[in-house]
């Protein structure tokens, strides 16, 4: 039970991380860095980035 919880939690987070990395052009090219700081004043943009599926 505890083992299953631990495996599901860690592997679930890994999967989410991998999924988010797919949508990040700066993974391969630093010049394509998304505006991490430029969106600071735009709560809607921040909310979009927080979602699991940023491309959706």
């Amino acid at each position: 039970m505890i083992d299953s919880f631990s495996i599901l939690l860690s592997h679930g987070l890994l999967l989410v991380a991998f999924w988010r990395l797919l949508a990040r052009p700066d993974l391969d090219d630093e010049a394509a860095t998304p505006a991490i700081h430029a969106d600071a004043a735009d709560p809607a943009a921040q909310a979009r980035e927080r979602t699991i599926f940023p491309d959706a």
Partner: protein
């Protein structure tokens, strides 16, 4: 059922990685740390997933990755030399069959560590590797932490999902790794971009750090306690609010002690009385034996050379209680005892040359990372550089904690420590490239003028 879960999970990761080949590097790291083959019964054991992941990672880098700014550091050169030296000592080993068995995984660990920094070309890749390492370790740490809270654990009793007491699933090793990743965990919670810092991320980081601190208690390993003390000292030393943080740590310790299991406090009490403890006494004897062995075998005895050791010593311990208490001196004879220390492991197996290479890899890493920490310190106002100095500090603290734990466990060739070294190399080469592009910093630049080196640069 578990077999199907891991098979499906790995298939999902491989599919995602087809779109972004760097993800294969993370998949290999996952397999190296979690060893899903050990958690399953049949399916994954029959597929060479580790080899497939490495071939995909290397192939992806070779075919699809931008290699214009790939750099090769002196530490990677040292790792190549160490790999060659290990191959030589394996061929000439005292115990060829055992040596060949250990070589079968050590070379993979070294090759991956040599390759890994070449792929860490962007800040996001460095962060992604740190996140993967922490989440992978958390698969073992969360279960260990929860079980410690529920049952209190016990030395050699805490079930970390598998009976196989090797790799990160060994009590002292996971204790060391759990404490070593805490600084990186807090760095991610503050500067992460994959999981942006918000209350959920901070809460998870705090909970996981708590689980990390519970691992040495649950496994009741003395090594883990020493690692906690070292980490606390390093944090206080680096902190600008030394008294506030020192006070908070002291308060936390005072509050925690009454809740610790009695068996834990008893076992920790044996740290200062090693003569009455067979496990600790045997270590000291093995270390003495190794020191003498390498004097007559300066080139080392190859992997598992400890198998030829045999020694006799006397142990003094208190038996009975109250008025019946008496000191008893007993004669102990041991043979074929493992090194129980990464330093003596390398010294005995690889002799002076191998030890020198291995030690230089770590010393250069610590020095370079410290240089990065100092160079980028005080840039908290610059959003593009604020993350660098704290990351260097976290990597250095984690590395030092690991090196302390390694003094008591034979983890010299653990993939985890080589990944930590590779991360430091990756950070240094990344910054060297950025600095070169900016033309603002000559910290890592070679003596030749910038226009003269369009190819690879040593960092």
């Amino acid at each position: 059922m578990r077999d199907l879960f891991f098979l499906g999970f790995l298939a999902g990761l491989f599919l995602l990685a087809l779109k972004r080949p760097f993800l294969f590097v993370l998949v290999y790291s996952y397999i190296d740390i979690v060893s899903p083959q050990r958690l399953t019964y049949i399916l994954l054991n029959s597929i060479p997933i580790s080899a497939i992941a490495f071939l995909c990672a290397f192939g992806g880098w070779l075919v699809a990755d931008d290699k214009r700014d790939s750099r090769f550091s002196w530490r990677q050169v040292l790792m190549v030399m160490l790999l060659g030296w290990c191959a030589y000592t394996t061929v000439t080993a005292d115990f060829p069959i055992d040596a060949a068995h250990k070589w079968s995984w050590v070379w993979k660990s070294l090759i991956f560590a040599i390759f890994l920094p070449l792929t860490l070309r962007t800040r996001l890749r460095i962060e992604a590797l740190i996140l993967t390492m922490i989440l992978c370790a958390s698969a073992i740490i969360v279960t260990g932490g929860v079980k410690t809270v529920l049952s209190g654990g016990g030395y050699g009793e805490l079930n970390l999902m598998v009976d196989n007491n090797s790799g990160l699933y060994e009590g002292s090793t996971i204790s060391t790794v759990a404490i070593a990743i805490i600084p990186l965990l807090f760095w991610l919670a503050k500067y992460g971009t994959i999981f942006r810092p918000d209350w959920k991320v901070r809460f998870y980081a705090l909970a996981l750090a708590g689980a990390c601190l519970l691992i040495p208690i649950g496994t009741q390993t003395r090594t883990g306690l020493l690692c906690i003390i070292l980490l606390g000292t390093l944090v206080i030393w680096r902190s600008q609010k030394r008294f506030a943080i020192g006070g908070a740590i002291a308060l936390l310790a005072v509050i925690t002690i009454p809740f610790l299991p009695a068996t834990f406090t008893q076992r920790m009490g044996t740290i200062k009385n090693y003569q009455g403890d067979q496990s600790a006494s045997t270590r000291v004897q093995v270390w003495k034996w190794t020191w003498d062995y390498v004097k007559t075998h300066p080139a080392g005895g190859g992997f598992d050379a400890y198998r030829s050791n045999r020694f006799t010593y006397y142990m003094t311990e208190m038996q009975g209680k109250g008025d019946d208490a008496r000191m008893v001196r007993s004669k102990i004879t041991e043979a074929g005892r493992a090194y129980h220390s990464a330093y003596f492991e390398v010294l005995g197996e690889q002799g002076y040359p191998g030890f020198l290479m291995w030690a230089l890899i770590h010393i250069l890493s610590l020095l370079t990372t410290h240089r990065i920490y100092r160079r980028y310190r005080g840039l908290g106002h610059d959003p593009d550089k604020a993350w660098i100095s704290p990351l260097a500090a976290a990597l250095q603290q984690g590395h030092l904690v690991y090196l302390l734990g390694a003094a008591f466990i034979g983890v010299a060739y653990q993939p985890f420590i080589f990944m930590l070294v590779a991360l430091q190399i990756g950070l240094a080469t990344y910054l060297a490239r950025i600095s070169q592009q900016d033309g603002s910093d000559k910290m890592f630049a070679p003596a030749a003028p910038a226009s003269a080196h369009k190819g690879r640069v040593m960092a």
